[in-house]
């Protein structure tokens, strides 16, 4: 039985170098790469998620933990076939047309990545057509849209409508300061998340 506890702890304390060393040592000792990811790296990150939600950790700490987890994954990745790589799903994220606010959106993207999702970040000021083109190209499970302005919120509706018109099959989630659950319901989005941590939970709920 491998003891994953020290690796979990290294992820929890965000020690990138230590995570790399311990991961390498496990690989050398012949531990299964998938187990290293699931029980060593992701398990550590799960603890981080809970602590953050309880207000016991700060965002930069969480992101450092995510970085240390990613550093471990980098090492074991070449040993696993792409199709076997644990991924919770693919998310396409962008700020809608006319809106240049990207800090919240980027944070949501980072948190989703650290939650085990494969995230494609389109950037800001993304018109509906661009979302559609990107869906065709990347085939995501979820499209996440961000808007910080009351003047750009309605772009979310237009985007969802165009995606539906094109007959593409994805889930839509939305967020940003002026967005609410009522607005999400009104425009037919599958979900709304008030902050980065809860958008990870929302994705898990939608495709888990």
């Amino acid at each position: 039985m491998t003891n994953f506890e020290p690796l979990n702890q290294s992820v929890i304390s965000g020690r990138v170098d230590q995570v790399k060393e311990q991961t390498k040592a496990m690989v050398d000792a012949g531990v299964s790469p998938i187990e290293i990811i699931n029980q060593g790296l992701i398990a550590g990150m799960n603890v981080v998620g809970v602590r953050f939600k309880n207000g016991d950790m700060f965002v930069p700490e969480v992101l450092m933990c995510a970085r240390s987890m990613a550093a471990g994954i980098e090492i074991v990745k070449p040993l696993i076939a792409d199709t076997d790589m644990p991924s919770k799903g693919k998310v396409l994220i962008g700020t809608v047309k006319g809106d240049l606010h990207d800090i919240g959106k980027n944070l949501v993207g980072m948190m989703m990545e650290s939650g085990g999702f494969n995230v494609i970040n389109l950037g800001v000021d993304i018109p509906p057509e661009k979302f559609v083109a990107a869906i065709k190209e990347h085939k995501p499970d979820i499209v996440a849209m961000s808007a910080l302005l009351t003047t750009t919120m309605l772009q979310m509706k237009d985007t969802i409508e165009l995606i539906k018109e094109e007959g593409l099959n994805v889930k839509y989630i939305i967020g940003g300061a002026p967005i609410s659950q009522e607005f999400a319901d009104e425009i037919g989005a599958d979900g709304y998340a008030p902050d980065a941590a809860s958008s990870v939970d929302l994705c898990l709920k939608l495709i888990g």
Partner: protein, 477 residues
């Protein structure tokens, strides 16, 4: 308020030494030369290239120090803003401090119902009345919020409300370059023509870079329009330490300055000597909630640092104070207003904006303006300093009253007691047994309603009003 520092009596504070200022200034020049800026506007990139900047792939431009120095040579050391009657009121120079507020916001705390709801243009009228009444609120900054009118005309509607129902100088952000031109037309009507508006600016425009180190194309268009038409421009970033700027304040200030300089270079090289103001809403990201903190001590400190740097460079300063993280008019709100207003006052930022924004710039109300007005009155008194003259040393009076006498009925007291700050809201009363004092929030609410219902603002002259309403048809139909 005009400062008295010529006589060395305005208390002044510095948070940076001359050497620290120079280090930050040179760091900003290094950022411009080494990392450069991303500017999403081909015309501006070509313009900068023609002036000697290095344009590279990805809309990136590296700006050499001499272009900044050239802009610094032509940027005016002072800008004067006028009120609705064309009187020159705000002298943005030296350490003069003027506080201003944001009348419109996404939400409004209704003083009649206590409810938080979307802001409407009717609320704009009530806010304007309270602003006109508040002595220490000396200008406004409008955005584009009014839920009762179409979104793309909200900018012009709120400005009309300000022009009609208050008399102070008007700053604004707007939807795009076309609405900027409309707003200039509106102001020209009030000022009595375009030349008059240029000579006695009644409006100013604000625009923002996108930290870190990026600038939008529409922004560049608006900078050019302001330069050419002589409309004072405020170009300032909103960096968030630890998110869109280094977590260390010195690095954030250097980046803030580099971003501001980019606008200044484009603006001054387009039209040397055009009125320009800069500063920054430089704060931190709260690392638990990820919110941009408006009430953080780091915000007051950073803005004071920028103020020191801009005094050194002799550029009129856009400050930030009295904007709070508190969600309503409560104890936290008062503390945040007090600390930031005093910090701005002592450091001498010129055009100090954002008074009365709550919950990270998403809600406002009349009560918060009245509270800030009271606190800023105290700040104004402190900035009056302690004049030391024969008259104020009053040695003859001291000798006359002598040991154990009283000053209360002396002529000297009668002559000078009016210098004492008199509260209009804060309580100093003597409470009788069994009596209770209504809370400050209750008194604020009573006063807000009184002012809304009773304060009279002289109407805009009828010919101007007529022209304004006629012009409005262009966007209101």
């Amino acid at each position: 308020m005009r400062s008295n520092n010529a006589h060395f009596i305005t208390p002044q504070m510095r948070v940076l030494s001359d050497d620290q200022i120079k280090s930050i200034y040179f760091a900003a020049l290094e950022i411009l030369e080494r990392t450069g800026m991303k500017i999403d506007c081909q015309e501006t990139l070509q313009f900068l290239a023609d002036q000697g900047a290095l344009v590279g792939p990805g809309n990136k431009v590296r700006i050499p120090a001499y272009l900044v120095e050239r802009a610094l040579k032509t940027v005016p050391p002072r800008v004067v803003l006028c009120n609705r009657d064309g009187e020159r009121k705000l002298f943005l120079e030296d350490n003069n401090v003027y506080f201003g507020c944001n009348p419109d916001n996404p939400d409004y705390l209704d003083p009649y119902t206590g409810e938080r709801r979307p802001f409407t243009s009717k609320d704009g009228k009530d806010m304007a009345t309270v602003i006109d009444y508040s002595k220490n609120i000396e200008f406004v900054l409008n955005a584009c919020f009014s839920a009762d009118v179409p979104r793309d005309v909200a900018d012009r509607v709120i400005i009309r409300q300000m022009m009609l129902y208050m008399r102070k100088p008007i700053g604004f952000s707007c939807t795009n370059a076309d609405s900027l031109l409309d707003i200039i037309d509106m102001a020209a009507i009030v000022a009595g023509g375009y030349d008059e508006l240029r000579m006695n600016p009644y409006i100013f425009h604000i625009q923002e870079p996108i930290s870190p180190l990026s600038h939008d194309g529409n922004t560049m268009k608006e900078i050019k329009i302001c330069a050419e038409k002589g409309i004072p421009l405020v170009y300032y970033p909103m960096p968030m330490a630890g998110a869109t700027a280094p977590a260390t304040l010195a690095g954030m200030l250097a980046q803030n300055l580099a971003e501001a300089f980019t606008g200044m270079v484009v603006h001054q090289l387009t039209k040397p000597g055009a009125p320009f103001i800069t500063g920054g809403v430089a704060s931190i990201m709260d690392m638990k909630t990820t919110r941009f903190s408006y009430g953080a001590p780091e915000m007051s400190l950073s803005v004071a640092g920028l103020t020191d740097i801009l005094h050194y460079l002799k550029i009129p300063i856009w400050g930030t104070a009295a904007t709070v993280d508190a969600k309503t008019v409560d104890q936290q709100c008062a503390a945040e207003i007090a600390i930031s207003s005093l910090m701005s006052g002592l450091s001498g930022a010129n055009l100090v904006h954002d008074t009365g924004l709550m919950d990270q710039a998403t809600v406002t109300c009349p009560e918060v303006l009245l509270l800030a007005d009271e606190i800023q009155g105290m700040v104004r008194r402190i900035l009056g300093g302690i004049p030391v003259t024969d008259e104020t040393l009053a040695l003859d009076v001291v000798d006359e009253i002598g040991n154990g006498g009283s000053y209360i009925s002396h002529e000297h007291t009668y002559k000078h007691f009016r210098d004492f700050w008199v509260p209009s809201l804060f309580d100093r009363s003597v409470l009788q047994k069994g009596q209770t004092m209504p809370s400050l929030t209750e008194r604020l609410n009573t006063k807000a309603r009184y002012v809304i219902e009773n304060h009279e603002v002289p109407p805009l002259p009828s010919d101007k009003l007529k022209d304004l309403l006629e012009l409005e048809k262009k966007w209101l139909g």
